[in-house]
């Protein structure tokens, strides 16, 4: 099940610097289980969206090529301290997670 996601958002000048750490195994579906020799089924985040005060700023597509427990950093011009950042992800099995943070 989906574990919490961590977001840190700070203002640097007029640009908000947002860092997100998601908890996910990000299995590519190409790896084999060392004991059974069976392929481990793919299980990775496919979509990530982020919005600031309700306006979408980032819409990302991902593959299993993103490292386990994905880290994502991006910058947005315009927001002020106190504005809300919301991040959502969906994985290939339909699991979803959402988290929000206040820009500080």
């Amino acid at each position: 099940m989906a574990e919490p996601m961590r977001i840190r958002a700070t203002m640097a000048g007029d640009v908000a610097d947002v860092k997100v750490l998601m908890n996910h195994t990000m299995e590519t579906g190409l790896r084999k289980d060392s004991k059974t020799g069976q392929l481990i089924p793919a299980h990775y985040i496919t979509d990530v969206t982020a919005s600031v005060n309700g306006a979408k700023v980032l819409d990302a597509g991902m593959s299993g090529g993103i490292s386990k427990n994905p880290y994502l950093g991006f910058k947005v011009k315009g927001p002020k301290a106190g504005d809300k950042v919301v991040v959502n992800w969906t994985d290939n099995k339909g699991d979803k997670n959402t988290a929000e943070a206040t820009i500080g």
Binding site: V52, K56, A60, M62, G65, I66, K68, G73, F74, G78
Partner: protein, 155 residues
């Protein structure tokens, strides 16, 4: 449908060109909407991935900076930072050329998001890490070689 609406609103100037390109069959409607389609992620070669993204004509650009280690000891976690100083950057895609599925991720940027993405990727073996940037309806690209000591994709 929201995505369509947003795209049209976002690029009032560019909308005409997109519509023409769609009409002319140069772009599939899905492509014009939101970045790379899922098929591009399943492509097994760089050429197919670029084709899937509609970025085969990407021009080399010095305005894209890729920050990644020269040598990555652990291919499972390679920090990559892409900065595009091209005005009007709307999308950044990251490709690890020799991975089983080269297209790692693509990021559509809007509403003030800057041309900057920082993330961590897996690399199967030493290869070029390529960034593809979309700005003003055109695509630009840059690449940086990362040597991988231990692969991070399956095995």
């Amino acid at each position: 449908m929201n995505a369509l609406r947003r795209n049209v609103l976002k690029s009032a100037a560019g909308a005409g060109t997109v519509a023409v390109a769609v009409a002319a069959g140069l772009l599939k409607p899905t492509m014009a909407l939101a970045g790379a389609p899922r098929t591009a992620f399943e492509a097994k070669s760089v050429g197919d991935a670029l084709k899937g993204m509609g970025a085969t004509a990407a021009a080399d650009s010095k305005d894209i900076t890729i920050k990644a280690p020269d040598i990555a000891e652990n291919g499972a976690v390679v920090p990559v930072e892409v900065t595009s100083s091209i005005a009007g950057t709307t999308a950044i895609a990251i490709i690890s050329e020799k991975n089983a599925t080269p297209l790692v991720a693509d990021f559509d940027l809007s509403n003030g998001a800057q041309g900057f993405i920082s993330t961590r990727i897996k690399m199967g073996q030493t290869s070029l890490v390529r960034a593809v940037v979309t700005a003003g309806g055109k695509t630009y690209t840059a690449a940086k070689e990362v040597k991988v000591t231990i692969g991070g994709c399956g095995g």
